[in-house]
């Protein structure tokens, strides 16, 4: 529900990075977003379409690298993937885990300038 705010933060950071690298445009933006980040990817793309015109990012290709959720089982000392939902149950021993290892990522992974 705050995809617009997140995209605004991204565009601000991209503008700063472009300035730092003396670039006037950006060709590619790669965002890394975890399955548990609470971000709707369609809404994020929509926010990009709405907010990017007039910025250094207006002509760029937007790519989203989705990071799946993985949790750690204390009993088995191993990581396991979580397909969907919020119940993290170890496939080996059946214990529930609250130790989330990946899936909360929310950031800009990579930028390319011409």
């Amino acid at each position: 529900m705050h995809e617009v705010g997140i995209m605004q933060s991204a565009l601000d950071a991209i503008r700063d990075q472009a300035e730092k690298h003396h670039a006037t445009r950006v060709t590619r933006i790669v965002l890394r977003i975890g399955a548990l980040a609470g971000v709707d990817l369609e809404a994020l793309r929509f926010a990009y379409e709405a907010l990017s015109p007039g910025t250094v990012a207006q002509d760029a290709a937007l790519e989203i690298e989705a990071v799946p959720a993985r949790a750690h089982c204390v009993g088995c000392d191993r990581e396991f993937g979580v397909e969907r939902g919020f119940i993290f149950k170890c496939p080996t021993c059946g214990e529930y885990s609250g130790d989330i290892r990946t899936g909360r990522e929310l950031g800009i992974a990579r930028l390319e300038f011409p």
């Binding site: 529900m1 705050h2 705010g5 997140i6 933060s9 991204a10 950071a13 990075q17 730092k20 690298h21 670039a23 445009r25 060709t27 590619r28 790669v30 965002l31 609470g38 990817l41 793309r45 990009y48 379409e49 207006q58 002509d59 760029a60 290709a61 937007l62 790519e63 989203i64 690298e65 989705a66 939902g85 919020f86 119940i87 993290f88 149950k89 214990e95 529930y96 885990s97 609250g98 130790d99 929310l106 950031g107 800009i108 992974a109 990579r110 930028l111 390319e112 300038f113 011409p114």
Partner: protein, 269 residues
């Protein structure tokens, strides 16, 4: 600043030719026509069919304005040596009743303060008003949750001298408050026995983020046919990290455990 700040990693040497064709894990918008044409022209003009692109792994975390303000609040609370608890539940789960009794009992030994949010009225602020505990009422109008900015302003409006525990009673809502960090140290989710045992399964994000789950109104559980063990199992499935306390603010059952939990927070240096 005597130490130079570390520079971001520089561009990898060499050229990349995948500006237009790089693998994406998701469908992406294509380049706009002018830029695409420009790169295509550059590609065809290059003898090797390559085009120079400067590529950077930047790894910049994205924080929204609320997250930045929440971090500021967290630092402010830590600096004052107080523990902030964000109490979240459906409307009517018993947040205010629990806080009333907590202020009357626990609050006599350990100085507490309350920030309470509702859409309208200062009824809860009035109910919680005690000479020994500062209270601020936040009315949000139509907003369905408290945010970190509201907390920063409300915290400035009361005298926090000597306060060890700051209760933040959120707007009654199990959905939106999950997404708004207030800078709290502990997120407390209340589930009352007048609700369904499966609420943790129906509203998982808020329970997933809980440090402590309070099962409230347990004195009437049997009358209501509420199965405590089923509720506890459902909480455990979603939030195995959360401590669970079963209590009744009316009969006092479970309150010693709740106060012991608060004491543990207040005792921290």
């Amino acid at each position: 600043m005597s130490n130079p700040t570390p520079a971001l990693p520089e561009a990898e040497p060499g050229f990349r030719i995948n500006a237009l064709t790089g693998a994406a894990t998701h469908a992406s918008r294509t380049l706009s026509a002018p830029l695409s044409a420009e790169i295509a022209a550059a590609l065809s003009a290059s003898p090797k069919g390559e085009v120079a692109v400067r590529s950077f792994d930047v790894n910049i975390p994205l924080l929204e304005k609320n997250d930045i303000l929440a971090e500021r609040n967290r630092g402010y609370f830590l600096g004052r040596g107080l523990a902030a608890l964000n109490l979240v539940s459906s409307p009517g789960a018993g947040k205010t009743t629990l806080l009333e009794r907590t202020l009357d009992e626990f609050g006599r030994q350990t100085k507490c303060a309350v920030l309470v949010g509702d859409l309208e009225t200062d009824n809860d602020g009035q109910r919680l008003s005690r000479p020994h505990a500062p209270v601020a009422q936040i009315t949000t109008g139509t907003v369905c949750h408290l945010d970190a900015g509201m907390i920063a302003r409300a915290a400035q409006s009361i005298n926090l001298d000597g306060v060890r525990i700051l209760f933040i009673e959120n707007v009654g809502n199990l959905v939106c408050p999950a997404s708004f960090d207030l800078g709290e140290q502990v997120r407390v989710v209340l589930l009352s026995t007048t609700e369904g045992e499966d609420k943790p399964l129906k509203y998982p994000p808020i329970f997933k983020s809980a440090n402590l789950v309070l099962l409230t109104k347990v004195d009437v559980a049997d009358v209501l046919g509420f199965k405590r063990d089923v509720a506890v199992e459902n909480i455990r499935r979603i939030a195995p990290q959360a401590k669970i306390i079963q209590l009744s603010a009316r009969t006092g059952e479970g309150l010693p455990e709740w106060y012991a939990f608060l004491r543990g927070l207040g005792d921290r240096p």
